[in-house]
Symmetry: C2
Subunit: 380 residues, 2 copies
């Protein structure tokens, strides 16, 4: 035994059992998880190599492929939040010196730039004001100029509420022998996605938005083209935790131990995906679209305007212009403290200019809109 | 809207609601989480910048410091499992070319070697057979030979059940102007630790062992000495998700958004730490020691032997020698399928030679031992 040492208690706190306010989460995420998901998360853990748990992993893989509309064998949940899955796409595709072209029209495009730089990419960017997107002609011109090995786009920019059309981009990437990497954090489950038909090679998402789960286990997929680039690497992936060659041996037939999975989050994700599959992914998309159109008309009826052009607005996340003379931060604070409703503020170019209102997963319901409008009417 | 495309259903599965067997997890982890923890995890999420959630983060920080016996301001939970926290210590301390000396006497020493190499360290190792540890004289000789900037040791080797004494190591590291990095994955909460008195500069752990939480949110701490090295880096930390300069701005006074925390896991971790603080960390250590001694005597009473010399055995994890002629894998399988009890198998040098039996956190109870012994008696 070690020598007996005295116990320091200066950091000790006397706490009561956990008690948290019950918020309606209508910000950019997390949203409220489905009650079935929350219940599943309180199930006692299994071991990470228990056959009963391995079956749950298989189910997650299959249902993730369905939700994303892909047959990629390497489709898994990363044991971290969406940003970890984002970093996983970079870590497993970029080799030092690779040219990576990134479309930046918001906060998360910039995050891709930061991450890609850390992995040694020769990063090139094309930019648009926050709230706009890139046309196929603009993308074609940039591809011709930069000849990247990877093109990174954000399908649903969480900071702006704008959708990036993907039609034709996959063909363009093949023409230039380039991988297509797509951020679907705020689209999976709520916005139509057809990864394989679009020719997407790397995609990531999160659990706590369109899928209606709690945050912490994050969808990741890579195509055989992306896997071929990974297998041809000359050096190890410079990130052990997110190394898909190691993770593939755990999620695949070998079942080789890599790390202890966040068991209870996988329970929740399995249930969230089961609920999506029961609803039907196309029905889930349609529900998000119907409820957001109700939101837009309701907001307009109380005199508010949307930041993004209607045809490119996301069904999952809406940027609402803060009217002149209104203190946006004060309104958000009042919604939170007096009405238990969370909405998000603007980031970057949109700081102070918009609120971000999410209707995602379980929260994409008419009642969410009605409750928000009633509260806003009182507060503004 | 995107062009309408048909929905592929080949990956769709018709699943029933989640139903998992109720196992007694007596392997190397995860263990069964405390019922209070599981209940907390099913609480509806808060936003990651909600003042009510920020308070929970503060409580986690303070109680983690208490559990580890440190006053390090930078003490947080990483949003991933223990391996992510492990990688965080490497990513934030190693700069390319730094000599890192690692003590390898088991699987997790080797994992440190793998990770440190990926971050460009000039890795040197000292080795011992699995189940043994390093004397202070051996460490001193290796420090004199390699003059490392970082010394990495595993306090509680989960693959062997052996404890590495730390007395005197902190002083040795200061003598050589070297940081001390310590794996406390299988010790935090169950084995006496005094990080500050020992002079440890970087440490990591997990939630699902001695703390009795579910896996997925992992303790990380760094001393002011380690922070000084980080602040003096010439290049960005080559890992965005685990960059402690960014994470420090979220956990610290700035509250700057970094990533969406795994909210429900933090609920669980807060409750697990609260329960440890109510019991008293020294009482938790004593409970683990008393129950493991009961395990050892019970195992001996049915003719089984332990792999590690008694004075260095961990109170949290015991390696039990598989008797000659007994099929260890078959026994473990029978325990799982017929008795709903999980024990672990051996790794590396100990593959096929030992079972690994954990008594950690909530599972460190006399009843766990009684149930295991009763089952083992039937199975062997």
């Amino acid at each position: 035994m070690t020598l007996a040492m005295s116990i320091e208690t200066n950091q000790l706190q006397q706490l009561k059992p956990l008690s948290v306010p019950n918020r309606l989460l209508l910000g950019p995420g997390p949203c409220n998880a489905h009650p079935t998901v929350l219940q599943a998360m309180s199930t006692t853990p299994l071991g990470h190599l228990d056959p009963a748990f391995l079956q749950i992993m298989d189910e997650i893989q299959s249902l993730l492929r369905y939700a994303w509309q892909t047959d990629n064998p390497h489709t898994i949940a990363v044991s971290g939040t969406g940003s970890a899955a984002m970093e996983a796409t970079i870590a497993n595709s970029v080799e030092p010196g690779d040219v990576m072209l990134i479309g930046v029209a918001g906060y998360f495009g910039n995050r891709l730039v930061d991450m890609a730089g850390r992995y040694g990419a020769d990063v090139r960017t094309i930019s648009k004001p926050w709230g706009q997107n890139f046309s196929i002609e603009e993308l074609r011109a940039a591809m011709a100029e930069h000849r990247p090995k990877i093109l990174g786009l954000v399908h649903a920019e969480t900071s702006t509420g704008c959708r990036q059309p993907i039609d034709g981009v996959g063909e363009l990437c093949r023409e230039y022998d380039c991988l297509l990497l797509l951020d679907t954090v705020t689209s999976l489950g709520g916005v139509p996605i057809h990864l394989d038909k679009w020719g997407v090679d790397l995609a990531y998402s999160c659990s706590q938005k369109g899928l209606g789960c709690a945050p912490g286990a994050s969808p990741f997929t890579m195509s055989p083209r992306a896997m071929a680039k990974l297998l041809a690497r000359k050096t190890k992936v410079p990130n052990w935790y997110l190394d898909m060659l190691l993770l593939g041996k755990y999620w695949g037939a070998e079942r080789m131990y890599h790390h202890t999975a966040p068991i209870n989050l996988y329970y929740g994700l399995r249930e969230a995906l089961r609920l999506v599959s029961e609803e039907g992914i196309d029905n889930s998309w349609a529900r998000h679209q119907a409820n957001v159109e109700y939101l837009w008309s309701s907001l307009e009826s109380i005199g508010l305007k949307m930041h993004v052009e209607k045809q490119y607005r996301l069904p999952t996340l809406t940027t609402v212009c803060i009217p002149d003379g209104v203190d946006g931060k004060a309104v958000a604070k009042q919604l939170l403290t007096e009405h238990n409703i969370e909405v998000g503020g603007g980031l970057g170019e949109l700081a102070g200019k918009v609120w971000r209102v999410g209707l995602m997963g379980y929260n994409s319901r008419k009642e969410s809109v009605d409750r928000l409008i009633a509260a806003l009417t009182q507060v503004i």
